[in-house]
Symmetry: C2
Subunit: 210 residues, 2 copies
Protein backbone atom coordinates (compact mmCIF):
# COMPACT_ATOMS: atom_id res chain seq x y z
CA UNK A 1 0.00 0.00 0.00
CA UNK A 2 1.58 3.32 -1.01
CA UNK A 3 1.30 6.58 0.97
CA UNK A 4 -1.62 7.92 -1.04
CA UNK A 5 -3.61 4.69 -0.67
CA UNK A 6 -2.89 4.70 3.07
CA UNK A 7 -4.07 8.31 3.48
CA UNK A 8 -7.22 7.54 1.52
CA UNK A 9 -7.95 4.46 3.65
CA UNK A 10 -7.36 6.37 6.90
CA UNK A 11 -9.68 9.14 5.74
CA UNK A 12 -12.39 6.61 4.91
CA UNK A 13 -12.08 5.06 8.36
CA UNK A 14 -12.20 8.52 9.99
CA UNK A 15 -15.27 9.46 7.92
CA UNK A 16 -16.99 6.28 9.08
CA UNK A 17 -16.06 6.94 12.71
CA UNK A 18 -17.48 10.47 12.37
CA UNK A 19 -20.85 8.93 11.43
CA UNK A 20 -21.04 6.82 14.60
CA UNK A 21 -24.05 7.74 16.69
CA UNK A 22 -23.15 9.63 19.87
CA UNK A 23 -24.58 7.74 22.88
CA UNK A 24 -27.20 9.78 24.76
CA UNK A 25 -27.14 9.90 28.56
CA UNK A 26 -30.32 11.29 30.14
CA UNK A 27 -29.57 12.94 33.48
CA UNK A 28 -32.38 12.78 36.02
CA UNK A 29 -32.17 15.21 38.91
CA UNK A 30 -29.18 14.28 41.09
CA UNK A 31 -26.64 15.66 43.55
CA UNK A 32 -22.89 15.64 44.02
CA UNK A 33 -21.56 16.14 47.54
CA UNK A 34 -18.36 17.46 49.08
CA UNK A 35 -16.90 15.12 51.71
CA UNK A 36 -17.87 17.38 54.65
CA UNK A 37 -21.48 17.70 53.43
CA UNK A 38 -21.66 13.94 52.87
CA UNK A 39 -20.36 13.24 56.39
CA UNK A 40 -23.02 15.50 57.84
CA UNK A 41 -25.90 13.90 55.89
CA UNK A 42 -24.71 10.29 56.19
CA UNK A 43 -22.63 10.16 59.38
CA UNK A 44 -20.28 7.18 59.78
CA UNK A 45 -21.43 5.50 56.55
CA UNK A 46 -19.20 5.00 53.53
CA UNK A 47 -20.68 6.07 50.18
CA UNK A 48 -22.07 2.91 48.59
CA UNK A 49 -21.91 2.44 44.79
CA UNK A 50 -25.17 1.06 43.38
CA UNK A 51 -24.63 1.25 39.61
CA UNK A 52 -21.68 2.27 37.44
CA UNK A 53 -22.21 5.12 34.97
CA UNK A 54 -20.69 5.15 31.48
CA UNK A 55 -17.99 7.64 32.50
CA UNK A 56 -15.11 5.70 34.12
CA UNK A 57 -15.10 5.78 37.94
CA UNK A 58 -18.48 7.51 38.22
CA UNK A 59 -21.48 5.82 39.76
CA UNK A 60 -24.97 6.23 41.16
CA UNK A 61 -24.80 5.70 44.93
CA UNK A 62 -27.26 3.87 47.16
CA UNK A 63 -27.73 7.12 49.11
CA UNK A 64 -30.60 9.47 48.23
CA UNK A 65 -31.87 12.76 49.67
CA UNK A 66 -34.98 14.93 49.56
CA UNK A 67 -34.62 18.35 47.92
CA UNK A 68 -36.61 21.11 49.61
CA UNK A 69 -37.35 24.55 48.14
CA UNK A 70 -39.75 27.37 49.05
CA UNK A 71 -42.56 25.89 46.93
CA UNK A 72 -42.13 22.14 47.11
CA UNK A 73 -39.96 19.08 47.61
CA UNK A 74 -38.63 16.17 45.56
CA UNK A 75 -37.97 12.79 47.17
CA UNK A 76 -35.47 10.02 46.39
CA UNK A 77 -32.96 12.22 44.59
CA UNK A 78 -29.89 10.15 43.79
CA UNK A 79 -26.36 10.95 44.98
CA UNK A 80 -23.69 10.40 42.31
CA UNK A 81 -20.18 9.40 43.32
CA UNK A 82 -17.36 9.80 43.88
CA UNK A 83 -17.45 12.75 46.31
CA UNK A 84 -16.27 16.10 44.91
CA UNK A 85 -14.61 19.33 46.00
CA UNK A 86 -17.94 21.20 46.03
CA UNK A 87 -21.54 20.11 46.50
CA UNK A 88 -23.79 20.64 43.47
CA UNK A 89 -27.49 19.96 42.81
CA UNK A 90 -28.59 19.39 39.19
CA UNK A 91 -32.30 19.73 38.44
CA UNK A 92 -34.50 20.28 35.39
CA UNK A 93 -36.52 23.44 34.73
CA UNK A 94 -39.60 21.39 35.60
CA UNK A 95 -38.02 20.53 38.97
CA UNK A 96 -36.97 24.17 39.50
CA UNK A 97 -40.60 25.24 39.14
CA UNK A 98 -41.82 22.55 41.57
CA UNK A 99 -39.19 23.57 44.15
CA UNK A 100 -39.59 27.30 43.57
CA UNK A 101 -35.87 27.79 43.00
CA UNK A 102 -34.65 29.94 40.08
CA UNK A 103 -31.77 27.63 39.13
CA UNK A 104 -29.72 29.10 36.26
CA UNK A 105 -28.39 27.20 33.24
CA UNK A 106 -24.73 26.44 34.01
CA UNK A 107 -21.91 24.09 33.16
CA UNK A 108 -21.11 21.71 36.00
CA UNK A 109 -18.71 23.36 38.46
CA UNK A 110 -19.56 26.93 37.40
CA UNK A 111 -21.49 27.72 40.56
CA UNK A 112 -20.82 31.38 41.34
CA UNK A 113 -24.00 33.18 42.37
CA UNK A 114 -26.21 30.07 42.12
CA UNK A 115 -29.08 29.62 44.60
CA UNK A 116 -28.99 27.38 47.65
CA UNK A 117 -31.26 24.49 48.57
CA UNK A 118 -32.16 22.35 51.60
CA UNK A 119 -31.16 18.66 51.61
CA UNK A 120 -32.74 16.08 53.90
CA UNK A 121 -31.29 12.59 54.41
CA UNK A 122 -32.74 9.89 56.66
CA UNK A 123 -30.21 11.08 59.28
CA UNK A 124 -29.76 14.85 59.02
CA UNK A 125 -30.58 18.09 57.25
CA UNK A 126 -28.26 20.51 55.50
CA UNK A 127 -28.78 23.95 53.95
CA UNK A 128 -26.49 24.48 50.95
CA UNK A 129 -25.81 28.19 50.40
CA UNK A 130 -25.38 27.68 46.63
CA UNK A 131 -24.80 25.09 43.92
CA UNK A 132 -28.29 24.55 42.48
CA UNK A 133 -28.17 24.55 38.66
CA UNK A 134 -29.86 23.37 35.49
CA UNK A 135 -26.99 21.66 33.66
CA UNK A 136 -26.05 22.97 30.24
CA UNK A 137 -26.23 20.16 27.68
CA UNK A 138 -22.78 18.90 26.75
CA UNK A 139 -20.81 16.08 25.14
CA UNK A 140 -18.06 14.29 27.02
CA UNK A 141 -15.29 12.84 24.89
CA UNK A 142 -11.67 11.75 24.84
CA UNK A 143 -8.94 13.67 22.98
CA UNK A 144 -9.13 10.96 20.27
CA UNK A 145 -12.90 11.47 19.88
CA UNK A 146 -12.26 15.22 19.59
CA UNK A 147 -9.65 14.62 16.89
CA UNK A 148 -12.03 12.39 14.93
CA UNK A 149 -14.99 14.76 15.32
CA UNK A 150 -12.79 17.82 14.56
CA UNK A 151 -13.87 19.72 17.70
CA UNK A 152 -12.02 21.13 20.72
CA UNK A 153 -12.67 21.46 24.44
CA UNK A 154 -14.89 24.51 24.99
CA UNK A 155 -16.44 24.46 21.51
CA UNK A 156 -20.16 24.96 21.15
CA UNK A 157 -21.66 22.56 18.59
CA UNK A 158 -25.05 21.60 17.17
CA UNK A 159 -26.31 18.04 17.67
CA UNK A 160 -29.27 16.40 15.93
CA UNK A 161 -31.40 13.91 17.85
CA UNK A 162 -32.83 11.55 15.23
CA UNK A 163 -35.14 8.57 15.24
CA UNK A 164 -38.33 9.90 16.84
CA UNK A 165 -41.33 12.04 15.84
CA UNK A 166 -39.82 14.72 18.05
CA UNK A 167 -36.51 14.92 16.22
CA UNK A 168 -34.72 18.24 16.69
CA UNK A 169 -31.34 19.94 16.60
CA UNK A 170 -29.89 21.17 19.89
CA UNK A 171 -27.69 24.20 19.30
CA UNK A 172 -25.16 25.48 21.86
CA UNK A 173 -24.02 22.05 23.07
CA UNK A 174 -20.75 22.34 25.02
CA UNK A 175 -17.81 20.10 24.10
CA UNK A 176 -15.93 18.70 27.13
CA UNK A 177 -12.68 16.92 26.29
CA UNK A 178 -10.76 15.04 28.97
CA UNK A 179 -8.52 11.97 29.08
CA UNK A 180 -10.40 8.78 30.00
CA UNK A 181 -13.82 10.27 29.19
CA UNK A 182 -16.16 8.25 26.99
CA UNK A 183 -18.12 9.75 24.11
CA UNK A 184 -21.55 10.59 25.58
CA UNK A 185 -24.02 13.45 25.22
CA UNK A 186 -25.68 14.53 28.47
CA UNK A 187 -29.15 16.10 28.39
CA UNK A 188 -31.70 16.49 31.16
CA UNK A 189 -35.18 14.98 31.36
CA UNK A 190 -36.94 18.05 29.89
CA UNK A 191 -34.60 17.95 26.90
CA UNK A 192 -34.98 14.17 26.54
CA UNK A 193 -38.78 14.48 26.61
CA UNK A 194 -38.75 17.30 24.05
CA UNK A 195 -36.52 15.28 21.70
CA UNK A 196 -38.08 11.84 22.18
CA UNK A 197 -34.56 10.81 23.19
CA UNK A 198 -35.72 8.01 25.47
CA UNK A 199 -37.03 6.07 22.46
CA UNK A 200 -34.92 2.93 21.90
CA UNK A 201 -34.27 3.94 18.29
CA UNK A 202 -33.18 7.54 19.08
CA UNK A 203 -29.60 8.55 18.26
CA UNK A 204 -27.49 11.70 18.28
CA UNK A 205 -25.12 13.01 15.64
CA UNK A 206 -23.04 16.17 15.18
CA UNK A 207 -24.47 18.67 12.72
CA UNK A 208 -21.71 20.03 10.52
CA UNK A 209 -22.35 23.63 9.66
CA UNK A 210 -22.14 24.71 6.03
CA UNK B 1 -45.06 53.11 -10.06
CA UNK B 2 -44.74 50.63 -12.93
CA UNK B 3 -45.51 46.92 -12.71
CA UNK B 4 -41.91 45.89 -12.08
CA UNK B 5 -41.48 48.43 -9.28
CA UNK B 6 -44.75 47.27 -7.74
CA UNK B 7 -43.71 43.59 -7.83
CA UNK B 8 -40.37 44.46 -6.28
CA UNK B 9 -42.03 46.47 -3.49
CA UNK B 10 -44.54 43.70 -2.78
CA UNK B 11 -41.73 41.15 -2.61
CA UNK B 12 -39.81 43.33 -0.16
CA UNK B 13 -42.88 43.62 2.07
CA UNK B 14 -43.45 39.85 1.88
CA UNK B 15 -39.79 39.18 2.73
CA UNK B 16 -40.11 41.43 5.76
CA UNK B 17 -43.32 39.72 6.86
CA UNK B 18 -41.58 36.34 6.52
CA UNK B 19 -38.99 37.53 9.07
CA UNK B 20 -41.62 38.33 11.70
CA UNK B 21 -41.12 36.24 14.84
CA UNK B 22 -43.77 33.54 15.27
CA UNK B 23 -45.45 33.99 18.67
CA UNK B 24 -44.85 31.01 20.99
CA UNK B 25 -47.74 29.58 23.01
CA UNK B 26 -46.66 27.21 25.80
CA UNK B 27 -49.39 24.64 26.52
CA UNK B 28 -49.53 23.42 30.09
CA UNK B 29 -51.44 20.20 30.70
CA UNK B 30 -55.13 20.79 29.98
CA UNK B 31 -58.35 19.08 28.95
CA UNK B 32 -61.10 19.57 26.38
CA UNK B 33 -64.52 18.10 27.17
CA UNK B 34 -67.48 16.87 25.16
CA UNK B 35 -70.78 18.35 26.33
CA UNK B 36 -72.00 15.08 27.92
CA UNK B 37 -68.73 14.61 29.85
CA UNK B 38 -68.84 18.24 30.98
CA UNK B 39 -72.44 17.87 32.21
CA UNK B 40 -71.44 14.83 34.24
CA UNK B 41 -68.41 16.49 35.87
CA UNK B 42 -70.02 19.92 36.40
CA UNK B 43 -73.77 19.27 36.66
CA UNK B 44 -76.08 22.26 36.14
CA UNK B 45 -73.19 24.75 35.81
CA UNK B 46 -72.41 26.66 32.63
CA UNK B 47 -68.77 26.59 31.50
CA UNK B 48 -67.23 29.83 32.76
CA UNK B 49 -64.55 31.62 30.70
CA UNK B 50 -61.65 32.83 32.85
CA UNK B 51 -59.12 34.08 30.29
CA UNK B 52 -59.20 34.41 26.50
CA UNK B 53 -56.51 32.56 24.53
CA UNK B 54 -54.83 34.01 21.44
CA UNK B 55 -56.91 31.82 19.10
CA UNK B 56 -60.28 33.53 18.51
CA UNK B 57 -63.15 32.10 20.59
CA UNK B 58 -60.93 29.84 22.68
CA UNK B 59 -60.46 30.36 26.40
CA UNK B 60 -59.22 28.89 29.67
CA UNK B 61 -62.26 28.08 31.81
CA UNK B 62 -62.70 28.57 35.55
CA UNK B 63 -63.30 24.81 35.85
CA UNK B 64 -60.43 22.47 36.71
CA UNK B 65 -60.15 18.72 37.32
CA UNK B 66 -57.73 16.24 38.83
CA UNK B 67 -56.13 13.72 36.46
CA UNK B 68 -55.67 10.24 37.93
CA UNK B 69 -53.51 7.47 36.46
CA UNK B 70 -52.19 4.15 37.79
CA UNK B 71 -49.06 5.77 39.25
CA UNK B 72 -50.11 9.26 40.34
CA UNK B 73 -52.39 12.25 40.06
CA UNK B 74 -52.17 15.88 38.92
CA UNK B 75 -54.38 18.54 40.51
CA UNK B 76 -55.85 21.79 39.16
CA UNK B 77 -55.72 20.82 35.49
CA UNK B 78 -57.42 23.54 33.46
CA UNK B 79 -60.42 22.97 31.18
CA UNK B 80 -60.19 24.86 27.87
CA UNK B 81 -63.36 26.03 26.15
CA UNK B 82 -65.51 25.92 24.19
CA UNK B 83 -66.78 22.35 24.58
CA UNK B 84 -65.89 19.95 21.73
CA UNK B 85 -67.22 16.87 19.96
CA UNK B 86 -64.80 14.59 21.83
CA UNK B 87 -63.06 14.81 25.19
CA UNK B 88 -59.26 15.01 25.02
CA UNK B 89 -56.53 15.25 27.67
CA UNK B 90 -53.20 16.86 26.68
CA UNK B 91 -50.23 16.18 28.95
CA UNK B 92 -46.44 16.37 28.72
CA UNK B 93 -44.11 13.34 28.77
CA UNK B 94 -43.16 14.42 32.29
CA UNK B 95 -46.85 14.28 33.27
CA UNK B 96 -47.30 10.93 31.51
CA UNK B 97 -44.54 9.45 33.66
CA UNK B 98 -46.05 10.87 36.87
CA UNK B 99 -49.49 9.48 35.97
CA UNK B 100 -48.17 6.16 34.65
CA UNK B 101 -50.02 6.56 31.35
CA UNK B 102 -48.22 5.80 28.06
CA UNK B 103 -49.73 8.75 26.17
CA UNK B 104 -48.62 8.75 22.51
CA UNK B 105 -47.52 11.78 20.49
CA UNK B 106 -50.55 12.83 18.43
CA UNK B 107 -52.11 15.78 16.65
CA UNK B 108 -55.16 17.11 18.46
CA UNK B 109 -58.26 15.11 17.44
CA UNK B 110 -56.30 12.06 16.25
CA UNK B 111 -57.32 9.90 19.18
CA UNK B 112 -57.71 6.36 17.83
CA UNK B 113 -56.16 3.81 20.17
CA UNK B 114 -55.10 6.39 22.78
CA UNK B 115 -55.22 5.45 26.47
CA UNK B 116 -57.97 6.45 28.89
CA UNK B 117 -57.72 8.41 32.12
CA UNK B 118 -59.77 9.17 35.24
CA UNK B 119 -61.05 12.73 35.78
CA UNK B 120 -62.22 14.03 39.16
CA UNK B 121 -64.11 17.31 39.56
CA UNK B 122 -65.34 18.77 42.85
CA UNK B 123 -68.72 17.18 41.98
CA UNK B 124 -68.18 13.87 40.19
CA UNK B 125 -65.76 11.37 38.69
CA UNK B 126 -65.50 10.15 35.12
CA UNK B 127 -63.42 7.44 33.44
CA UNK B 128 -62.52 8.39 29.86
CA UNK B 129 -61.91 5.28 27.74
CA UNK B 130 -59.42 7.14 25.51
CA UNK B 131 -58.20 10.58 24.47
CA UNK B 132 -54.99 11.00 26.48
CA UNK B 133 -52.19 12.36 24.27
CA UNK B 134 -48.94 14.28 24.20
CA UNK B 135 -49.68 16.98 21.62
CA UNK B 136 -47.47 17.13 18.54
CA UNK B 137 -45.91 20.59 18.24
CA UNK B 138 -47.61 22.66 15.56
CA UNK B 139 -48.12 26.16 14.17
CA UNK B 140 -51.60 27.61 13.78
CA UNK B 141 -52.00 30.16 11.01
CA UNK B 142 -54.45 31.80 8.64
CA UNK B 143 -54.45 31.14 4.88
CA UNK B 144 -52.76 34.55 4.45
CA UNK B 145 -49.98 33.58 6.89
CA UNK B 146 -49.53 30.33 4.94
CA UNK B 147 -49.25 32.28 1.69
CA UNK B 148 -46.65 34.62 3.17
CA UNK B 149 -44.65 31.79 4.79
CA UNK B 150 -44.95 29.61 1.64
CA UNK B 151 -46.31 26.59 3.52
CA UNK B 152 -49.53 24.54 3.32
CA UNK B 153 -51.86 22.81 5.76
CA UNK B 154 -50.35 19.45 6.69
CA UNK B 155 -46.75 20.45 5.92
CA UNK B 156 -44.02 19.49 8.36
CA UNK B 157 -41.55 22.33 8.90
CA UNK B 158 -38.49 23.15 11.01
CA UNK B 159 -38.67 26.04 13.48
CA UNK B 160 -35.76 27.66 15.32
CA UNK B 161 -36.28 28.92 18.87
CA UNK B 162 -33.80 31.76 19.32
CA UNK B 163 -32.84 34.12 22.11
CA UNK B 164 -31.81 31.79 24.93
CA UNK B 165 -28.79 29.67 25.91
CA UNK B 166 -30.94 26.66 25.05
CA UNK B 167 -31.63 27.69 21.46
CA UNK B 168 -32.56 24.78 19.21
CA UNK B 169 -34.35 23.81 16.01
CA UNK B 170 -37.54 21.77 16.32
CA UNK B 171 -37.98 19.56 13.27
CA UNK B 172 -41.30 17.91 12.34
CA UNK B 173 -43.52 20.84 13.35
CA UNK B 174 -47.01 20.44 11.86
CA UNK B 175 -48.57 23.32 9.92
CA UNK B 176 -52.29 23.87 10.68
CA UNK B 177 -54.02 26.35 8.40
CA UNK B 178 -57.59 27.47 9.11
CA UNK B 179 -59.60 30.64 8.55
CA UNK B 180 -59.64 32.93 11.59
CA UNK B 181 -56.61 31.27 13.19
CA UNK B 182 -53.81 33.50 14.44
CA UNK B 183 -50.14 32.80 13.79
CA UNK B 184 -48.93 30.93 16.89
CA UNK B 185 -46.60 28.00 17.57
CA UNK B 186 -47.81 25.58 20.23
CA UNK B 187 -45.27 23.59 22.26
CA UNK B 188 -45.68 21.83 25.58
CA UNK B 189 -43.89 22.56 28.85
CA UNK B 190 -41.14 19.95 28.28
CA UNK B 191 -40.37 21.48 24.89
CA UNK B 192 -40.51 25.02 26.30
CA UNK B 193 -38.09 24.07 29.10
CA UNK B 194 -35.70 22.38 26.67
CA UNK B 195 -35.69 25.44 24.38
CA UNK B 196 -35.65 28.17 27.03
CA UNK B 197 -38.82 29.37 25.30
CA UNK B 198 -40.29 30.95 28.43
CA UNK B 199 -37.51 33.57 28.42
CA UNK B 200 -38.95 37.01 27.62
CA UNK B 201 -36.48 37.45 24.77
CA UNK B 202 -37.16 34.06 23.11
CA UNK B 203 -38.63 34.01 19.61
CA UNK B 204 -39.46 31.47 16.92
CA UNK B 205 -38.75 31.59 13.21
CA UNK B 206 -39.20 29.19 10.29
CA UNK B 207 -36.01 27.50 9.12
CA UNK B 208 -35.88 27.46 5.34
CA UNK B 209 -34.20 24.34 4.09
CA UNK B 210 -31.43 24.66 1.51
Amino acid sequence: MDKQQLASTVNKVLDEMRQRPIPIGISSRHIHLAAADYARLFPAQPIQPKKALLQPGQYAAEQTVTLVGPKGRLNNVRLLGPLRQTSQVEISRTDARILGIAAPLRMSGNLQGTPGIRLISPFAELELSGGTIVAQRHIHMSPLDALILRVSHGDSVAVAIEGSDRRLIFDNVAVRVAPDMRLEMHIDTDEANAAGADAAQAWATLVTKP
